[in-house]
């Protein structure tokens, strides 16, 4: 089977998908009587026009980096981890427990321990579906979705009945102590002479997320384990024949995936909110799927896609603030981008592939 050139696969298809989504979104905005060009301007200046906007865009991108990497690691092993949302929630619980009940002398130590705890909680939440998949053949897609609901209920129970301070109304934990406040980009960049917005939530976890990109790349393409994961994902029977253990690979891939999702909590729970609230994940677990698909499951692609979705999230929030476009329609616009870049990939790919083949034949 002939293939189209790599640059078309990596650049052209996402770009066309994105343009299609943008065109459809413009129609939606026109349909409710608003100006689409004005809306795009609001989104761009709001998300990229100031260090404040960048701060939020990067903050959201950090979340999507973790979940996007998580989905791609599982994907390389042929597993579709839809449970990122639940794993990130549990990661948040781990971070909250570590931050609330242990008095840390310095944020750096707290960050390391909290990241480990978040990873362990997230991995534990992925372990059960992984085991059921490997041992019992219960499909991981179904079980991870179900575990999202269980995670939400667990978090709900913990917040309402255990962690909520006495007399408080909203289901949230107390604030974490001042000592473990993670340095924001403002505090990191100030010594370098860059005056980054003070009120933006992007923080040191962004650097952790970028480091995680590199580690995942090393793992998948430069280690024996990564080789096993990829081999297993490409052909299970082939991997089995080569003497690899399906149980071991399924478990390890899902545990890494769950740990990455859980680690997102150092950004949204420890870095931004500095307390655990319900729905702190804001759907990042699901966005991670779109990010991984769009990024072609390569860490660098995931990085770019995470930036794009960070822009969409922050741009959407700005749209909600400064225009009269109702919040439901902003979700529609974000969903259209996910639909085109994630789910309807083949809609663009197939005609494009045909086109390339036809052009090539003509030349030949």
């Amino acid at each position: 089977m002939e293939k189209m050139p790599k640059w078309a696969d990596v650049v052209l298809i996402p770009l066309i998908s994105l343009l299609l989504a943008a065109a459809l979104s413009a129609l939606v905005i026109l349909g409710i009587g608003e100006d689409p060009i004005e809306a795009v301007k609001t989104m761009i200046t709001g998300a990229l026009g100031s260090t404040y906007g960048w701060g939020y865009t990067l903050y959201y991108a950090t979340n999507f980096l973790f979940t996007g990497l998580a989905v791609s690691v599982a994907y390389h092993a042929g597993l579709f981890n839809i449970g990122g949302e639940g794993q990130a929630m549990l990661g948040g619980l781990g971070v909250a427990l570590i931050c609330l009940f242990i008095p840390w002398p310095h944020w750096s130590i707290a960050l390391i321990v909290a990241a480990i705890a978040a990873g362990l909680f997230g991995a534990a939440w992925a372990a059960i579906p992984a085991y059921l998949q490997a041992k019992r053949g219960s499909h991981v897609v179904i079980t991870t979705i179900m575990f999202n609901f269980i995670a939400f209920s667990v978090l709900n129970y913990m917040l309402v009945n255990v962690l909520k301070p006495q007399g408080a109304m909203d289901p949230a934990t107390a604030r974490f102590p001042e000592a473990i406040h993670l340095p924001s980009l403002h505090e990191i960049l100030l010594p370098l002479g860059i005056n980054f917005s003070k009120s933006a939530p992007a923080n040191v976890s962004l650097l952790v997320a970028i480091a995680a990109c590199f580690v995942v790349w090393l793992l998948i393409w430069r280690t024996w384990l990564g080789h096993e994961i990829r081999a297993f994902g490409k052909s299970e029977s082939g991997a089995r024949y080569a003497g690899m253990s399906p149980l071991k690979i399924t478990m390890i891939a899902m545990l890494i995936s769950g740990a990455l999702c859980g680690m997102m909590a150092i950004n949204n729970v420890m870095g931004e909110a500095e307390r655990l609230v319900l729905n702190s994940t804001e759907g990042a677990g699901f966005i991670g799927i779109a990010v991984a698909l769009m990024g072609r499951n390569h860490p660098f692609g995931v990085f770019l896609a995470a930036l794009l979705f960070g822009f969409l999230y922050q741009g959407g929030a700005e749209l909600a603030l400064w225009s009269s476009i109702p919040r439901e329609l902003i979700v529609v616009i974000q969903a259209l981008v996910i639909l085109f870049t994630g789910a309807l990939d083949n809609m663009v790919r197939m005609p494009l592939e045909k086109l390339f083949i036809a052009v090539r034949k003509e030349k030949a």
């Binding site: 709900n156 307390r275 319900l278 603030l321 400064w322 919040r327």
Partner: protein
């Protein structure tokens, strides 16, 4: 011609907003959404009344998730909106961290009264007093001697409503049964009309023939089901009598609209501090209009108005759930 006109209009609008933009008030609606027919809608009505009367404009956002609260606050404060009006207790914690960063901006917190801050105006309501009155009416209208209460999210505030309601009902009829249910334990409970409807059916099967919904958008389902099943209901926050004329006994008014209107009217000269709006301040009350007039008998009105006077004079004390986190008339 018309193009020219709209261009001129746009130019004029820009000129006007350019002059006043720095002091536009802003409203942050809570998760129920601004058209919840209840709590948030009351705020919207107050803001709209201000805009209609003064010709001013205000900024607004409907929150989509908990995590947006702080972002919305900071964004409005940085854009120069003043005052920034927030709805619901969920804004208390974000306010406590954001407000000190913007000392020149005044923040209004509706349903909050426990924060410290120079630039905060905290408005809370004596919901138990208003609920007491509608509780009396429910007991007088009930033929089965069973009345129902459906709360939104199970928090002290909603128990506070339920407690006043039960006390009012029991003041009329000491043997009355009060059935109380909560929709949920998360903010989603403010916007779940389907569950509200199910709970109403469950309460009807337990004999309730008047139900009081203190549940934000969830109440829409309660009122609908009550009307469908032929029993009476009581609305909350906004006047909801018109939703099902002749089927809604009354509504417990919580004048969030007045609080928002007054805050916007005062603008940057807004007085800060803690304010409680009770019966005396007409911050709470019961709704009487053409839609429910046939349901409210002269006796009922006389009894309720008498109780209202007594509460205002201090002769009648409605126990508050907040006092010791328990209710003398109802156990949860």
């Amino acid at each position: 011609m018309s193009l020219m006109k709209s261009l001129m209009g746009a130019a004029a609008a820009i000129a006007v907003t350019a002059g006043t933009a720095f002091a536009d008030p802003a409203v942050i609606f809570d998760l129920g959404g601004k058209f919840d027919k209840s709590f948030n809608e009351a705020a919207y009505n107050g803001a709209k009344r201000w805009a209609d009367e003064t010709g001013g404009t205000f900024r607004e956002i409907e929150l989509q998730s908990e995590a947006q609260r702080e972002q919305a606050l900071r964004r409005f404060a940085e854009a120069g909106s003043n005052p920034v009006i927030t709805m619901g207790f969920g804004m208390a914690d974000p306010l406590s961290s954001v407000a000190p960063d913007y000392p020149d901006t005044k923040f209004v917190a509706i349903d909050v009264n426990w924060l410290d801050g120079e630039n905060l105006r905290q408005v809370s309501f004596a919901e138990h007093e208003g609920s007491y009155l509608v509780g009396m009416m429910a007991a007088m209208a009930s033929k089965s001697d069973t009345v129902g209460f459906i709360g939104g999210m199970d928090i002290p505030l909603i128990r506070h409503f339920a407690c006043g309601y039960a006390q009012g009902a029991k003041a009329v009829n000491p043997d009355i049964t009060v059935v109380a249910n909560m929709t949920g334990t998360t903010p989603a409970a403010w916007n779940d009309p389907v569950k509200g409807s199910e709970l109403t059916k469950a309460q009807i099967s337990q004999g309730a023939d008047v139900v009081y919904a203190a549940a934000g958008g969830t109440g829409v389902g309660v009122l609908q089901t009550a009307a469908d099943e032929g029993i009476l209901s009581i609305g909350v926050d906004s006047n909801q009598n018109h939703l099902h004329p002749g089927k809604v006994l009354t509504s417990m008014l919580k004048r969030v609209d007045v609080a928002v209107y007054e805050a916007m009217k005062a603008g940057t000269d807004l007085e800060t501090g803690k304010f409680t709006m009770g019966l005396a301040e007409e911050g709470v009350g019961y709704a009487l209009d053409d839609n429910n007039a046939p349901l409210v008998s002269a006796d009922m009105k006389a009894a309720v108005d008498a109780a209202r006077e007594q509460i205002i004079k201090g002769e009648l004390n409605v126990a508050s759930y907040y006092a010791d986190n328990s209710c003398p008339a109802l156990s949860f």
